[in-house]
C-alpha cells in the first residue's frame, strides 16, 4: 500500500476505499481541497466527487460535517457544538525572561523570599512578575520565614509540576547535571565573555560521579 498504484492498468479501488481516502485527506489537510486536488492525489480512475457525496451523507448529523467552501471541501465541527470548542482558542505567549528566571529560582530554592530571589537574580523583582506567576497558578505563597520581619515565601504549585511534567521539584537537575547533559546553551549572552559550559571538545565527558560532585 505504500506505493500509490497510480497509472496502473488495474481498476480503481472500490468506492468504500475511495471514501476512506477522501476522508483522510480532508482530515489531514490544513486547507479545503477541491475535487481536482483530491483526484491528483488519488489512484488513477478514482471518482472523488462521488466519494465526497457518500462521505457527506455519512457525516450527516454527526459531530463533524463535510462542508463546501467555495469550490473546495473541508471538514468542520457541527455548528451546534461550538460551545465545546470554547477552551480551544488559547493564545500562547512566551513568559518574559524575568518571569522565567524568577520561576526557576522559586522552583530550585523554594521556599524562597522575594529578597532571596533578588539576591540570586542580582536585580530587583517587580511585583507584577510574581503576581503573574501566582495568577498562572504556578507559584503560591508558602509559610512565612521565621526570620526578623517574618517575610512571606514563595513555593511552586502542583499545577507547576503538572505543566512541566515533573513528579516533584526535587527532580529538577542541578547545574552540573544540566551542563553534563548538554542542556546549557553554549552561546554566551552578549557581552558575557567565554561561552557557557563550553569545554574542550577533546575533554572526555564527565562520568557519573563527577556529575554529582557539587
Amino acid at each position: 500500500m505504500a506505493d500509490a498504484p497510480r497509472d496502473t492498468l488495474f481498476d480503481a479501488p472500490p468506492m468504500g476505499d475511495q471514501e476512506r481516502m477522501v476522508e483522510a485527506m480532508l482530515f489531514a489537510s490544513a486547507t479545503p481541497l477541491t475535487v481536482a486536488n483530491l483526484a491528483a492525489r488519488m489512484p488513477h480512475g478514482c471518482d472523488p466527487a462521488e466519494a465526497l457525496a457518500h462521505l457527506r451523507r455519512r457525516y450527516d448529523g454527526r459531530g463533524v460535517h463535510l462542508v463546501r467552501v467555495g469550490d473546495a471541501w473541508a471538514m468542520r465541527t457541527a455548528p451546534d457544538l461550538g460551545f465545546l470548542m470554547r477552551n480551544e482558542v488559547v493564545e500562547t505567549r512566551k513568559l518574559s525572561r524575568a518571569a522565567i528566571e524568577t520561576l526557576a529560582i522559586i522552583a530550585y530554592h523554594q521556599p524562597v523570599t522575594r529578597a532571596e530571589i533578588e539576591e540570586i537574580r542580582g536585580v530587583s523583582v517587580s511585583r507584577g512578575t510574581v503576581d503573574q506567576l501566582i495568577e498562572l497558578d504556578w507559584v503560591r505563597l508558602g509559610r512565612r520565614k521565621l526570620t526578623p520581619g517574618r517575610p512571606v515565601t514563595f513555593v511552586v504549585t502542583p499545577e507547576f509540576l503538572d505543566h512541566f511534567g515533573l513528579e516533584s521539584a526535587r527532580d529538577l537537575p542541578g547545574v552540573a547535571e544540566l551542563r553534563a547533559a548538554g542542556l546549557l546553551d553554549n552561546r554566551p549572552p552578549p557581552g558575557m565573555g567565554p561561552a557557557l559550559g563550553e569545554v574542550d571538545p577533546d575533554d572526555p565527558p564527565p562520568d557519573q560521579s563527577e556529575l554529582f560532585a557539587d
Binding site: 489537510s29 486547507t31 512566551k94 529560582i105 542580582g122 547545574v175 558575557m192 565573555g193
Partner: protein
C-alpha cells in the same frame, strides 16, 4: 585516520588489501562494544552461543592490526583490549582457588549478555523507527478548529526554558569580567604608601612584619596578602635605594632599615 596513513611508512597495495580484509576502520564503530558486536557476527552463531574466547582473540587481532598500520586507537579500545587479554587468561588458565573474584566464565557470560542486550536494543530501535510515524505515515488534524469565542491568553514555558534560565543565573558569576574580590587583598601600592610614611622613623633594623597594617594580622587570608604586599614593597624601596634589607638565615625574619636616616 587518513592522516595516520599519510604519516606512516609507504604501504604496499598488497598490505593495504590485507588490512582492508580486517575492516580496520575504527571510525565506523561506536566504541569497543560496538566493534565486538560486529566481530561477533563473523562467528555466525546465536549470540547466546558465542565463543567469547574466540571473540577476544579476534578483538586482540584487530587491535594488533591497527597498531601495525599505526592507526591511533582511542583509549577505550585499548582498555577493552587489556581487559579481554585478562579475560582470555582467566578462561585458559585453571581457576586459582585462592581468588574469590568472579570466574572467567562469569565475566564471559556478562560480556555475552552485554552484546546480546546491545544487539537487542539496535534491533528494537530499528523496529521503532520503521513504525508508522505521526507526520510521516499517520496524520493529525490539519486544521485544528478555530473558534474565536473566549480567547484566553496562555503563557507557555518549557522545562528546557526553565532549566536554562536557572543555569543562566547560576553560571552568570562564572562569566563576569575577572575582577579580584579586594576586601581581603592588600595591594603593593597600599603597602608602599604605608611604608613610605613609616620608614623615616626606622633607624634601626626592624622586622618588616611590624609594618603590617592594623586589622590585617589576625585573619590568615588577610595576613598573607598584607605580608606579600609588604615584602614586595620592601624590595621596591630597596631597589629605589631608600632602605636596606637583611635576613640572617633562611626563613629568619626579614629586617629593614632606612638608608636616608643613616647616610643623610
Amino acid at each position: 585516520m587518513s592522516d595516520a596513513f599519510a604519516e606512516g611508512p609507504p604501504i604496499t597495495v598488497a598490505a593495504r588489501l590485507e588490512a582492508e580484509a580486517l575492516i580496520v576502520d575504527v571510525d565506523g564503530f561506536e566504541g569497543p562494544l560496538d566493534l565486538l558486536l560486529t566481530l561477533s557476527r563473523t562467528q555466525k552463531v546465536d549470540l547466546r552461543r558465542i565463543s567469547i574466547l574466540q571473540l577476544a582473540q579476534q578483538y586482540l587481532g584487530f587491535v594488533e592490526q591497527a597498531r601495525a598500520l599505526r592507526l591511533e586507537l582511542a583509549a577505550d579500545y585499548l582498555v577493552m583490549a587489556a581487559w579481554l587479554a585478562y579475560l582470555k587468561s582467566r578462561l585458559l588458565l585453571p581457576p586459582d582457588p585462592k581468588d574469590d573474584g568472579p570466574s572467567g566464565e562469569d565475566l564471559a557470560a556478562h560480556l555475552a549478555f552485554q552484546l546480546e542486550r546491545l544487539a537487542a536494543m539496535r534491533d528494537v530501535a530499528a523496529r521503532l523507527m520503521a513504525r508508522n510515524r505521526l507526520g510521516q505515515d499517520i496524520f493529525a488534524r490539519g486544521l485544528p478548529e478555530d473558534v474565536t469565542r473566549a480567547r484566553r491568553v496562555q503563557f507557555s514555558a518549557t522545562l528546557l526554558d526553565l532549566m536554562q534560565a536557572y543555569a543562566r543565573i547560576r553560571t552568570r558569576d562564572e562569566f563576569r569580567p575577572f575582577v579580584m574580590d579586594r576586601d581581603a587583598v592588600f595591594t603593593m601600592e597600599q603597602a608602599l604608601e604605608r611604608m613610605r610614611g613609616l620608614i623615616g622613623h626606622a633607624g634601626d633594623w626592624t622586622d618588616i612584619l611590624t609594618y603590617l597594617p592594623e586589622g590585617w594580622q589576625a585573619d590568615p587570608v588577610r595576613r598573607r596578602s598584607a605580608t606579600a604586599a609588604t615584602f614586595a614593597a620592601s624590595l621596591e624601596l630597596a631597589k629605589a635605594g631608600r632602605v636596606e634589607l637583611r635576613q640572617s638565615e633562611t626563613f629568619a625574619p626579614i629586617q629593614l632599615r632606612a638608608r636616608e636616616g643613616r647616610d643623610g
